[in-house]
C-alpha cells in the first residue's frame, strides 16, 4: 500500500512537471521539432529580446499587474480593517460576500464586467470604453478578495491589546495603525500582493472580455497565436515567466514560514516563563 502510494506520488509529480520541463528543454533546442533535441542554444532567448512587439505585450502585462496589485493591496487592506472592526454576524456575512467573486467562474466575471463597462459607456456616450482603464479596473476587482483573504487572518491573530497599547502610549488611531498594526499584518499584505500579482499576470479570460484592441496583455495576444504554429521564442518567454512566478511563490512561502516561526517563539517564551 505504502509502495503504491509512493508510485502514485511520482506519477502525479511527473504529470505536473513534465510539460514544463519539456517546454524548458525545447526553449534551449535549436531545432523546431520538439521530438529531437538538436543542439543547445540561447538563440531563442536572443530572438525573444529582439521582438519589440512581444516585449511591448510583456510590458503591458507588467504595468497592469503592478498597478492593479498596488491599488488592490491598499484598498484590500483598508477593507480588511473595516471588516475586522465589524461585529460577529455582519462580519461573517461580509466575508462571505467578498469570497464569492473568487469562486465565481472567470467567464461569468469577465462577461458581467464587460456588460457593466458597455452600459457605463453608453450612459456616458463614449465611443470606446474598453481599453487600459477598464482592464485595470477589472484586475483590481478580481484581485481585491485575495488581498482581503490574506490580511484578515493576520488581523484576527493579532493581540487586540497591541493597538490599545499604542493608543495608551500616545498614538492617535491612525498613527497606531502605521506604527503597530501595519507591521503585524505585513506578511498577510505581502502574500496578498504576491497572489494578486500572479493572478493578474496570467489572467486571460477576464482580460479577454474587458480590453479593446488598443491595449493587449500577453495572455490575450498569445491566445491569438495558438491558431497558427507557436514560434519557439515563446518557449523562452514561457520558461522565463515560469521562473519569475516560481521565485515569487517561493519568496512568499519563505516569508510566511519566517513570520510563523517568530510567532511561535514568542508563544514558547511566554509558556516557558
Amino acid at each position: 500500500m505504502r509502495k503504491a502510494s509512493k508510485v502514485v506520488t511520482v506519477i502525479v509529480f511527473l504529470f505536473l512537471y513534465v510539460p514544463i520541463i519539456v517546454l524548458m528543454v525545447a526553449s534551449f533546442s535549436s531545432g523546431t521539432d520538439l521530438a529531437i533535441f538538436k543542439e543547445f542554444t540561447f538563440s531563442r532567448y536572443a530572438e525573444l529580446f529582439k521582438d519589440t512587439n512581444l516585449l511591448l505585450l510583456v510590458r503591458n502585462s507588467a504595468i497592469i499587474a503592478v498597478l492593479s496589485t498596488a491599488v488592490a493591496t491598499i484598498l484590500g487592506t483598508m477593507a480588511a480593517m473595516g471588516i475586522y472592526s465589524m461585529k460577529g454576524r455582519i462580519r461573517s456575512l461580509v466575508m462571505g460576500l467578498t469570497n464569492i467573486p473568487m469562486t465565481n467562474p472567470d467567464i461569468v466575471t469577465g462577461v458581467s464586467l464587460a456588460l457593466m463597462f458597455a452600459f457605463t459607456g453608453t450612459v456616458l456616450r463614449l465611443q470606446t470604453v474598453l481599453g487600459f482603464w477598464t482592464l485595470l479596473i477589472a484586475h483590481i476587482t478580481f484581485n481585491l478578495p485575495y488581498v482581503i483573504l490574506n490580511v484578515m487572518p493576520r488581523l484576527a491573530q493579532m493581540d487586540p491589546n497591541l493597538t490599545n497599547a499604542a493608543l495608551d502610549l500616545g498614538c492617535t488611531p491612525i498613527k497606531s495603525f502605521f506604527k503597530v498594526t501595519l507591521h503585524e499584518i505585513m506578511p498577510g499584505i505581502i502574500s496578498g500582493a504576491l497572489m494578486s500579482f500572479t493572478m493578474s499576470l496570467d489572467d486571460f479570460v477576464i482580460s479577454y472580455f474587458v480590453t479593446g484592441s488598443g491595449f493587449l496583455t500577453l495572455p490575450v495576444e498569445i491566445y491569438n497565436y495558438t491558431k497558427k504554429p507557436i514560434h519557439p521564442k515563446l518557449y523562452a518567454l514561457f520558461s522565463l515567466m515560469f521562473i519569475v512566478i516560481l521565485i515569487l511563490m517561493v519568496t512568499m512561502n519563505v516569508l510566511q514560514a519566517r513570520s510563523g516561526s517568530a510567532k511561535r517563539r514568542l508563544r514558547a517564551g511566554k509558556e516557558a516563563a
Binding site: 499604542a166 507591521h183 516563563a273
Partner: protein
Amino acid sequence: MEFGGERVLDSINLDIEDKAFVTLLGPSGCGKTTTLRIIGGFQKPTSGDVLFDGSSIIDLPAYKRQINTVFQNYALFPHLDVYENIAFGLRISRLSEAEIDRRVTEMLASVSLRGFENRKITSLSGGQQQRVAIARALVNRPKVLLLDEPLGALDLRLRKDMQTELKKIQQEVGITFVYVTHDQEEALAMSDTVVVMDAGRIQQVGTPEDIYNEPVNAFVADFIGESNILDGTMPCDYKVRMFGREFECVDKGFAPNEPVDIVIRPEDIDIVPADQGLLCGTVTQVTFKGVHYDTIVDFRGFKWLIQTTDFCPEGSYIGIRINPEDIQVMHRSEYSGLYGDYSSYSAEYEELVEEETEEE
C-alpha cells in the same frame, strides 16, 4: 456599563487616592477589567463619569490621558527591540534623542534590564517581558499606572518576586497604581486599598486587614481566604447565637434577634478536649498542608474547616473554643447561604482552581 444589553458594571463608585496602590479584586467576569478599561479610555461606559484630579476625562481618548497601562500578556511590539519598545511613547511625544536615551537607560536600570537594549522581544522570558511592559508604561511618567493581571502568566516563584518588585517600584516612583487581579493573596500582599468586586458591583473597599478581618458579607469572607460562614442571630449587642448556644463577640449595632451571617476563620479556632469545648464535633477528614493540618469537623451536619498544628485523627471527638474577637458578624446579603460550608471540601483550595483566564 452594559454590553449588548447585559449589565456588566452596576453603579461603580470608587475614589482612588493619589499615590495609592489600589487593587481591584474579584472572580472572572466580575467587571474588574472593564473598570480598568474605562479608566484607561479603551471603553466608554453607557452612563456615568470618570473624574481625574476633579475634572471629567470621559470624553478624552486614551492617547490623551495621563494614564499608562501594563496589559495582560504585556502587548509588547514584536517588531521592535527592547529599547524601542520602551522608547515608543517618548518618540510619539517627540522628545529629543538625548532625552529619550537618558530616560530609557534610566528605566532599563530600574527594572534591572541593563544590557538587554538590543534584544528581540521574542527572545525574552516571561518575567523579562513583564519588566519591559512596566518600563514602557512608566517611562512616560504617567500620573496613574493601570495593571491588568500583569503577573497572571508567570509561575508562582517569579510571581512572588515580581510582587515585591512591583511594590518597590510603586514606592520609588510615587504614583498611583490601579491593579487588577483575581489572586486574593497577591491583592493582600501588595495593596494599600483592596476593592472586592463581584457581579459588576463593589462588595467592599478597605485596607487588606479590614477586608480580611472585617468582611461585610459572605462573598467577601469566602473570596478572601478560607472561612466558615454560619447562620446565627444577634439576641443583643456583643452576643451572638448559633448552634443553639450563645457566644460572646465584639460586634454591635444589629437589631434585636436579627438573623446574621457569622464568619470564623479556620486558623482562629482552638481545638480542646471535648469536655472543655463550647461546641463538640467529630473529625471527618485530615489533610496535611505543611504548615498546618486542614481538619474537617462535623458539627451536627455542618462541616467546619479548622487549620491547626495539632494533629487530631479522623473519627476523634473534639471540642472547640473561639475567642470573642475572632467572631465576625455580618448582615445578611444575597450571598447568604451560598458559601462557607465545607461539606464538599477537597484538598485543593478554591482559589487555586479558579479560572486563570480573565474575561475580555
